[in-house]
Symmetry: D2
Subunit: 378 residues, 4 copies
């Protein structure tokens, strides 16, 4: 069977994540990168295309150019999917055009810069049949897939407590310097939307809480931190969450947890057990039971769920990492495009991106109103 022809928007020479998507796309021999528009400057884009040994006729000036020319190709040569790796504010217009022109879309998170935009994309997609993935990268880890499956299978019983943490420290040296904090795009609402910390990493944590539990957050109450009055963007926050039933949750995110790198953790406790995971040691899943030894579950073993095993390429003890996690998401997208999906949750969907935007806006709103409860929309 032919590989899926993939285009890429953004992800050029200066991009950090371009390599992540390219390696992921190539990992399972499902995609073939055929072209794209890698940079706003066409020359840089062409040069980068050369490095990838692409046919220069498919290194486009911009998205309109791409759509026009790809649509003129015979169907079996045409791009079937396009990855959107551009700055946040471009996600919406690009994704919208791609959707309207029938391309499957793989979009970096956050999906858009406002909840409103996300709803528009959602409406469009519901009328089409295209696949739309939002790359919440961490959901592709085999141990996260195992956690989701075990919770679904009742291994820890009825959930009563959800705890997610996403601590980084990278913004610390920037926020304390007046000049730097005014020059950082993440701290500029024009470029990033209304939230820095919650928008960038809080959404990952929120998505993960819903992903592994299979539950939807109903209400939230947030307390954000804005260290300086001359900057309108949160760089730290805690969000209380209420799930259906009596399950409660707490989400902690920070970019001023000085010295932390990418310390994202998930802990879920049910009435029959608990499960814990840490992103920086992604190949360990901890199962806690009352008065039993702690169990440390690692990838690749025959006793794991099929969903987890699908995401592990080598025998136990050969650590895979974040590139492999993203590779699993791309594989999930490929299977969906080929109408061959085996596992729910094989890739994060547009609705995950939509809820992420909903969460950001409700969180900021809760804080601004004096740290009050706000209902999430369905």
């Amino acid at each position: 069977m032919a590989k899926i022809k993939l285009g890429i928007l953004g992800g050029g020479e200066d991009s950090l994540i371009g390599i992540l998507h390219r390696v992921a796309a190539n990992m399972f021999d499902q995609f073939e990168i055929v072209g794209g528009a890698f940079d706003v400057k066409h020359e840089k884009s062409l040069k980068f295309g050369e490095k990838l040994q692409l046919d220069s006729s498919r290194v486009y000036k911009d998205l309109d150019d791409l759509i026009a020319k790809e649509n003129s190709l015979p169907e079996d040569q045409r791009m079937q999917a396009v990855s959107v790796l551009t700055p946040n504010f471009l996600h919406f217009p690009m994704a919208k055009k791609l959707l309207k022109n029938g391309f499957n879309v793989i979009c970096e998170k956050p999906l858009t810069t406002t909840y409103e935009e996300a709803k528009i994309l959602n409406e469009i997609q519901q009328k089409t049949k295209v696949i739309f993935a939002v790359t919440y990268t961490y959901t592709g880890y085999p141990m996260i897939r195992q956690m989701k499956t075990m919770i679904k299978n009742g291994e820890i019983g009825k959930i009563q407590k959800v705890d997610v943490q996403y601590y980084q420290g990278w913004i610390n040296p920037l926020i304390h310097d007046k000049e730097k904090r005014s020059a950082t795009w993440r701290l500029d609402p024009e470029k990033s939307g209304i939230s820095c910390c919650i928008g960038d990493i809080g959404t990952h944590a929120f998505n993960m809480a819903e992903y592994v539990t299979g539950m939807k957050v109903e209400n939230i109450l947030a307390d954000l931190n804005y260290l300086y009055e001359d900057n309108p963007m949160d760089i730290d926050g805690t969000v209380l969450m209420r799930f259906p039933g009596k399950a409660k949750g707490v989400l902690r995110a920070s970019q001023i947890a000085t010295g932390e790198e990418n310390n994202f953790t998930v802990q879920v406790y049910g009435d029959k057990g608990g499960l814990k995971w840490e992103q920086e040691n992604p190949n360990y899943l901890y199962l806690l039971k009352e008065d039993k030894p702690l169990q440390v579950i690692k990838p690749g073993h025959g006793f794991l769920s099929e969903f987890s095993l699908e995401g592990t390429k080598l025998p136990p003890g050969h650590p895979e990492g974040i590139f492999d996690s993203m590779g699993n998401i791309y594989y999930g997208v490929a299977m969906a495009i080929k109408d061959n999906s085996k596992f729910d949750g094989a890739y994060p969907k547009l609705n995950d991106g939509l809820r992420g935007m909903n969460f950001i806006e409700k969180t900021v709103s809760s804080h601004k109103k004096g740290n009050v409860w706000i209902k999430m929309e369905d």
Copy 2:
């Protein structure tokens, strides 16, 4: 120099913590246990006194008996300090009598069952010169002392984030069984005061947050969990905290974190670095700095603070534990009684117990009022 003569109230055959206090008191050859009232039944008390090879004439019927007879002894034979290890609701009346009769007091936490009672004790103590310790056991760990010292010395700069977690799972099997939850004393407000989870372990976390940072919490907002309507006691809760300046904190406590044993952690981040500690691995203190290797600090090294080193008895690599931590607190009390204190924080004081009671009441109040901000009293 003569050892300090120590009496014990409670802590008899059925007590879990009696041994903790006895080993701690004996550890540095500062105290001599000379008597007490170990059980409400005098016979059991006498039998226990025999096991400890105490003079039976100093195994008392009750506290009044103890006070009367001890006061009749020559001063150099008299008990100088009394440890109160009885059930919570007896702390207040016993401590009050001891204070009024001039005994130094070592009292288990929580100090009392209401904030009102705690304030009364505080007033009495301020008029006397006796030493009054509240055994927040964990403050005696050498790495906590190191953390406190490093923060005080500015090692991590100005604090901007405080995160404390105290997760246990032991109440999980009790809370879900109607009969058991009505028969557990911890879940009975008559015996435990108005809070279960926050009262028992949340206060430890609160105390630790103030202990290591040297800052006072000013405002709190709490969300507690009460799983069943037929039981009025919280078994899980999250508390948002605001410190002076822009420092924010979050305290998470749970007794339904199924499978957790005694998972108490402290993380403090300043603008120059972060410090982290876990009670279950108490001999490791983690120092995080921007773009530097993580440093793992262990007890007993020459580069540590004097305050930390005082609490370590053997060379590096010989793990000491919770008995040793309590031993350090008893040593601190002994030095205070001998008017020889070297380190602020060598033992938790009555004021720590007072603030703990304040915290419990404000937390429950915040929750009951709909999760609103409440100001802590000074």
Copy 3:
């Protein structure tokens, strides 16, 4: 610049490691897989080539076919490098032909099945100018590269102790079953050479000891374990090693360390410090100094060596794994082919494979002679 055209021998549908090499080859956009012979059955090979979307004319019947046809292509279309992923006994004849025909070679370990064969390959290579890599995969980890650099720079002073461990348990259920142990190819000297445990994993540990220290083992004394007399292959062994000067080493390898997955560790101690690393947690390098906090070094930081940083694609806290390690080796090979090598040790060389074969034979010999010292050849 054009990508390097790569062929692959073996690595087809049934191969575990095929995907490892393909992902690694693609990772840095340096190689383009253009063809190969993936299976002894040409049909299976063709089908696999289809999956990779290769031109079927370059999916060859066998190596002779490949050589003949590739050599007839214009130079700029011809394969420049070939990866040999076939069973061990085929490494030698294939590598030999490839060398003689001027192809650059990337060969799986062990290089050959005898030291004699390895010496022959070595002689041939010394007369040619081709690049020859032996894929000791673990040398590509960024933290191993950092360790090698730090040792070279004198960070831990003069080496006095080297300790390598490679523990697995996978052969345990096979070795205890008479039928299974006679049917396992690893336990068959015809297919595997004279050693199972030392040959398969002991060589990795030996290579790593020499790689990170930059020293050569001079003498060895080995004690191997052969649990059953009806099987001639070691499944466990310890080797004492002597380096130049007074540095001593010990290598422990086992396939009957029941329950171990791929527990490969390296510890090196010098007179100024120590360094430790574990393959299953490859993103942590531990630096020990006298009376200083332990330092935990992680990838991607600005303070690391250039050699280490070259092997990390994302910012700190985004764990990379074994695929990324192999990717770094392929990148090293690419740079060498392009005559653009920056770092010594960027890929393991033929000489590393040669020493590995030397080590296997000397180890078995030492054991058979009664656990006596044997001199390694230069």
Copy 4:
């Protein structure tokens, strides 16, 4: 029941381990320290006795004084046991006199300075009925007791591999300085016996290997390291060990593993599983099984062996340490003196000390003869 009256030899003001023995002796209210000879200078001894609030009439000039006067006391007041905490070369003469005079003995390790002496003690003890403990402190940890019990119960099947490591770095700065190395008593054979590293820590590892497995080492082959020719004492060594059947072992000990504190580990693999433990994190026991999650066993749980549970004083999650481990050994001795022993292995016996001395001499002998196999005596 009356406490056992205990005397102490050595362990005075300058002693590191005096406090360890005193805390341990007091821990379970089984012993009462009544006197001793704490220092060679009687005055210092008297002063120390005062600190312990001992009756000065029982602070003796020396051992002869102690024996004479204690023997003249009524039996119910007399010391029943004496702890020997003096420098190594005094263990033998003191223990011998104590044995001959019918005192129960608790002796620090190494038991003596020569195997010959140890045999003499052994012969004497076999004729008497006194209890004789050698304080291999680490055998008192609850998780070591659990490990021993699980191995005995066949949990990991037939043992096929034993691996013990004892790495320290403290001698590193001394050994490289000519003056210091000639002035360190550990490096002086007159004071320490014929071995430094093996004698001090290698014996701990050897004892542990036999203790947890319940097997006896039959043959050993050793390679020691002596860095400087002007010093005759080993500071590093590896010992190959052969147990009955086909089980093999390896023991690694070092005092030049720079930066290591007290890194003592035990790994035992059987045909049904593996067990691992680390002294610096003594409350974790790791159980490995084929294709099952790793199990992390912690103290205090109901599912543990009675032998393990006896050694834990608080509920799970309250870390106990090395003082508690030694406390368990003292408790074992108390039970033996009271003829109430419940568990084999509750305290290390004279025979353990004897085998330790045998091991030291055979190890040095094997090395000196050119690293050859030597048979251990029974």
